[in-house]
Amino acid sequence: MAAKWKETGRIVGKSQIGRGIYSMWLQTKEIAAHAVPGQFVSLYCRDGSRLLPRPISICEIDQEMKQLRLVYRVAGKGTEEFAGMQVGDSLTVLGPLGNGFPLERMKEKKTALLIGGGIGVPPIVELAKQLEGEKKIIVGYRDELFLKDELEKCGDLYVATEDGSAGTKGNVMDAIREQKIEGDIIYACGPAPMLRALKAYALEKDIECWISMEERMACGIGACLACVCQSTEVDGHSHVHNKRVCKEGPVFLATEVEL
């Protein structure tokens, strides 16, 4: 079982990078040194009326400095609290959690499609940095772009926007079709409709497809069984068809889960 730590993290960098989108660099003791792309951390609120940890995906990892970059959207009072914190403030963080993207699957492949949609884009950054081989990065946004500079450095970048203000008008699937982007393995994170479309696309093209799932969580460590997703095979924990997003996931082989 992978080690995890509960630590007090200190904010060493903070900025707003889009409408309601915030970036935070967190100084950790152990977490960053052990984190891999596609994992997440639980951030705890200071306000005692908000009990549950907020699961936030890891955007970048600086193993040497033991720092983590978290990019998140303000979606409620908890993330609003984080957005209001300043450099020098500290907060409780638990991690690294979940399994992460299987980078080793790239070994026998030629070209990877790294696909992010909306607030699913952040974990694609560290994946793009660490994954070796040819990478085509396809990211979809409603209108405003974020993390573009970071992604551009790591491979060929293709953008889709719903309003057509940048790149292909439409979603990541529209970009893939319009730009005739091809690869032999997919790593993706984004909203359920996007993952569903990618799963269908991967099945049609017969390519391996890894998707990062999202679900409401409580404990974040696999005990409470809140964040399950439907699995095609009987799961190893409860022997039903429910895999824990926080433990067996968040990254699953697309054919492993019902979408």
Partner: protein
């Protein structure tokens, strides 16, 4: 020297701190954060005769000072549980309490019988889960049914039986008296309070199940009151729970009449809560020169 030992139906716990069923799995996930041997007992998540898939998601929602859950008792069934979870817990110097759930009297009895030869110290019978349609709370909201299921379980049980009571009743003392009459060896309370949250942006229920069980610090005063009432109504030992996040919270329950306490939802926001509560109770005893924790039980009359 302070003595933190307490006795529940003939089973001696090294201290009164246990885990609340459903918040701690079978201890494995939390063993990375706390030494389970520091706990009086580990109470497992509910286990049925066969695997249960539980409810659709979303299964949890945060509310002010608490949370709602409608997991629906997802569990691997008694066979896997006995093979995997009990041996895991046997690695620790703590008592094992297995929470049992079922859809019918036969279901409960099947699990209880199956546990007869297992190294389990106590059984907790869940007749109070608000999130499953059959069984669960159906047995826990009517005194006659509660007494009947207690009797049925007691007939086949080899270990002492704790009946877990629901707060979703008009008078919880009536339920406590009913299970006492049925032969229960102890009671635990409270299970969660049925609640609801509406997502005003999506104009739908926050939980797929519509309703869920409210837990967390928000429910503590209700739970302390009910423990006090039950302590005055029956002779059975009480395991008190509901919103315990600190030793101070736990001490309120002991003083109200609980022999032991369970830490539940707090595990989610601080995985080390259980051992912190153990330590805090010890500190309190030293500070006020309490030699035995049993002196505190029901000390507020």
């Amino acid at each position: 020297m302070i003595d933190t030992r307490v006795n529940i139906a003939g089973v001696e716990l090294k201290n009164p701190v246990m885990t609340a069923s459903g918040t701690f799995g079978s201890g494995q996930e939390y063993s990375e954060f706390v030494d389970l041997s520091r706990l009086g007992a580990v109470v497992t998540k509910g286990v049925a005769n066969v695997p249960w898939p539980g409810n659709p998601t979303p299964r949890v929602a945060e509310v002010y000072g608490g949370m709602l859950n409608a997991i629906g008792l997802q569990n691997p069934g008694i066979d896997v549980f006995a093979k995997r979870d009990i041996p895991f817990l046997k690695n620790y110097d703590t008592k094992i309490v297995v929470n049992v759930c079922g859809k019918s009297t036969e279901d409960y009895c099947e699990v209880v019988e199956r546990l007869a030869d297992e190294p389990v110290d106590l059984l907790e019978i869940n007749i109070s889960c608000p999130n499953v349609k059959e069984g669960g709370i159906a047995f826990g909201q009517n005194p006659a049914s509660a007494e009947a299921i207690t009797k049925a379980v007691k007939k086949v049980a080899k270990q002492p039986v704790i009946m877990k009571l629901s707060p979703n009743v008009t008078d919880i003392t009536e339920m406590a008296r009913a299970v006492e009459a049925g032969g229960a060896d102890a009671v635990s309370l409270i299970n969660t309070l049925t609640g609801m949250k509406i997502d005003i942006h999506r104009r739908t229920f926050a939980l797929a199940n519509k309703t869920g069980g409210l837990s967390g610090p928000a429910v503590k005063p209700v739970a302390v009151r009910m423990v006090y009432q039950v302590a005055n109504a029956v002779k059975l030992p009480i395991i008190g729970m509901g919103g315990i996040a600190t030793a101070e919270d736990a001490l309120e329950f002991l003083l109200a009449g609980a022999t032991a306490v369970s830490v539940g939802t707090a595990n989610f926001f601080n995985p080390e809560t259980t051992v912190e509560v153990v330590r805090g109770i010890e500190d309190y005893m030293r500070k006020y020169q309490v030699s035995s924790v049993t002196e505190l039980i029901g000390a507020v009359r």
